[in-house]
């Protein structure tokens, strides 16, 4: 019954005649539009009397041919005529794609936009930090508004649930440092200094830095995604209208929990890294654990631990602020939630590493070598 759409091109009484046959419907079109495009000439007589079924796309193709080539449509039955009228009515200049800007202009625009965006983010982050300090002030004056339950719940998500993965990661990092260090130090016959390397680098730098990166990936991202989705669902607005401050209910518990959990996790990570190094020294360098521990106590000064305990909460603050700030900036759609989450993690890790460099210089200056 139904058949593939086709047309014949002939000249009758001095006029080009396009005779369409078959079903002019989308599934039956096949290569007909392409063949029509290749056709040369103009001023056709378009004969539709052989057409079976027709849909709007078929009608559009006929209409377009008649419009562009100058033609006259004959032999359309009632249904086809209605469709042709419909598509003719719908034939208006419509913008389908955004205007492509000039390449040079585009680069300049993007550069400018990125600069403005970076400035805005910096100011916004500063403002966010200020707003957070203000609401801490409120809570100090009215301690009853402190949401202990929410904070404890965050403890579990940010801290307890991260124990496994951070432990495993630190253990492996400890082994890698010990192994790489041993290979290099063996050249000087100073294998025993591997213990210094493990002890000092784990406690001073690696423990807290690796923990910060892991927490940024686990918790910073989830803060941004959670708050972002809540903003999309207008939950944050609902909160405000009920009189609950999103800063107090959402941001502060997350910031508190991260700030408090980071030193614990960082210390734990440093310890596990040392254990990993000890295992390697025992198995591979045949240094017994007792000697290892004794040596660690001799070579690692207490100031290394102070450095860890000072840096960790600051990193926690940065990670949670970046996550919450980006989450609260979400306005439009699901895609933005994803983008903001990525930005939160990238921003957090970047700031953590920049600050770590400053800390290193600072602590050296004050003599905590």
């Amino acid at each position: 019954m139904s058949s593939v759409a086709r047309f014949t091109d002939s000249t009758e009484e001095g006029r080009r005649v396009l005779r369409f046959e078959g079903d002019l419907t989308l599934p039956r079109l096949g290569v007909l539009p392409n063949r029509l495009d290749r056709l040369k000439g103009s001023d056709f007589l378009i004969d539709l009397s052989g057409v079976g079924r027709m849909d709007t796309i078929g009608a559009w193709i006929v209409h377009r041919t008649a419009r562009d080539r100058g033609g006259e449509i004959v032999g359309a039955d009632e249904g086809a005529a209605t469709l042709l009228r419909q598509v003719e009515k719908a034939d208006q200049p419509v913008k389908v794609r955004p205007d492509p800007p000039a390449p040079f202009e585009r680069v300049l625009t993007q550069l400018g936009e990125a600069t403005i965006e970076a400035g805005r983010t910096f100011v916004g982050l500063l403002g966010f930090f200020g707003a957070m300090l203000l609401s801490i002030g409120h809570i100090i004056r009215q301690p009853r508004r402190f949401r202990l339950n929410a904070v404890v719940q965050r403890f579990e998500v940010v801290g307890v649930h991260a124990f496994g993965i951070i432990g495993l990661m630190s253990f492996l990092v400890g082994i890698v440092i010990a192994q790489q260090g041993a290979v290099q130090l063996r050249q000087f016959g100073a294998e025993v200094f591997t213990i210094n390397l493990i002890g000092r680098s784990s406690i001073k730098e690696l423990g807290v830095l690796m923990t910060a990166i892991m927490v940024a990936g686990r918790s910073g991202s989830s803060f941004a995604a959670q708050l972002g989705s809540m903003k999309l669902a207008e939950e944050v607005d609902a909160m405000r209208t009920i009189g609950v401050s999103p800063m107090e209910a959402l941001v502060l518990p997350r910031v508190f929990a991260t700030v408090l959990m980071m030193p614990l996790l960082g210390f734990y990570a440093a310890l596990v890294a040392i254990v990993g190094g000890a295992v390697f020294c025992w198995v591979s360098l045949e240094i017994p654990p007792v000697t290892f521990v004794q040596r660690i106590r001799e070579v690692v000064p207490l100031t290394d631990l102070w450095q860890l305990l000072i840096k960790a909460p600051v990193f926690g603050l940065i990670i949670s602020l970046a996550g919450c700030f980006q989450g609260m900036q979400v306005k439009s759609d699901a895609e933005e939630v994803g983008l903001r989450t990525t930005t939160a993690v990238v921003q957090a890790i970047f700031l953590v590493i920049v600050l770590d460099a400053f800390f290193a210089v600072f602590f050296t200056e004050i003599g905590w070598l």
Binding site: T25, L26, P27, L29, G30, V31, P33, N34, D37, D55, T56, I57, W60, I61, R64, G79, T82, L83, Q86, V87, K89, A90, D91, Q92, P93, V94, K95, V96, R97, P98, S332, D333, A334, E335
Partner: protein
């Protein structure tokens, strides 16, 4: 063929049973949708109107029962055969479900690209353009992203995507929910016009009494886990069922009925006047 065309059944549901854990949503549900009609589906909140639609279009696997669309059984078919049926329907979800990373025009082109990869880029753009105008979007809506559109415009863009393949069958899940009365009336008119022009069959879930009165040919009522009645509104009103009476005879139902009568009278008067002039 010509004899049966009048009453050809496009969707046939028999003995449908759906449950979520302990709670049974449908039990022994039957429904027929005829070619060319606009069938409204009504029911209280939580009676499973959307679940029924999802079972018909294959998003929800029913526990029991048969679903036939265009005479083809829908259950236990392989993917390739289902694709051929999917080409012939369009669906507008409650929140329009536009792809948020694509522009309106690209959204309309998605089904075309998926099913007919050989169409030229130029033709795709032209098709998107006239579909956008056809559903009453402004001509500059093409390059916009869904997040930049209002709720009503999003629904129109959703319809444009549903109509991309010139389907025979259109599923609409609460198309007028969340629209202002003027927008809702315009949307009703749009659906009626499209049915008129393209000969669509429309399966329409709605709570909007005005929509039911103005454009639906028949109304199916879901209650007690099944379709308890199908018919025109006067037919339903003649039934002695508590929920139906309350639904159509409540204050909102009566208001919609009166509005519809007033409309029809006005139309009749205009038609008379126009007829007079022509003569």
């Amino acid at each position: 063929m010509a004899v049966s065309e009048q009453d050809e059944i496009v969707i046939e549901v028999r003995g449908l049973r759906n449950s979520f854990g302990e709670s049974v949503v449908h039990e022994g549900l039957d429904l027929d949708v005829k070619r060319g009609e606009i069938l409204g589906v009504v029911g209280g909140s939580g009676t499973g109107k959307s679940v029924m639609m999802r079972s018909i279009i294959g998003l929800q696997r029913p526990d029991e029962g048969e679903v036939t669309v265009f005479g083809e059984p829908m259950l236990d078919r392989d993917e390739a055969e289902l694709q051929n049926i999917r080409k012939r329907w369009g669906i507008l979800f409650q929140g329009a479900a536009l792809f948020s990373t694509l522009t309106v025009a690209e959204n309309v082109q998605v089904p075309l690209r998926e099913f007919y990869p050989r169409l030229s880029e130029r033709l795709l753009d032209e098709i998107a353009a006239y579909k956008i105008v056809m559903v009453g979007l402004s001509p500059d809506a093409g390059p916009k992203f869904p997040a930049e559109l209002s709720g009503g415009m999003r629904k129109r863009a959703g319809i444009a995507r549903a109509l991309a393949l010139d389907p025979d069958l259109l599923f609409l899940d609460e198309p007028t929910a969340g629209l202002d009365p003027i927008g809702a009336a315009a949307f009703d008119q749009l659906i009626a016009d499209l049915r008129e022009q393209l000969g669509l069959t429309v399966f329409l879930i709605t709570h909007d009494l005005d929509t039911l009165y103005t454009i639906c040919d028949r109304v199916a009522v879901i209650a007690d886990r099944k379709v308890i009645a199908v018919g025109t509104i006067p037919e339903l009103l003649a039934l002695d069922h508590e929920w139906i009476q309350e639904y159509f005879r409540g204050p909102r139902g009566r208001a919609a009925e009166e509005a519809n009568e007033a409309n029809e009278e006005a139309e009749a008067r205009t038609a008379e006047a126009n007829g007079g002039i022509e003569r």
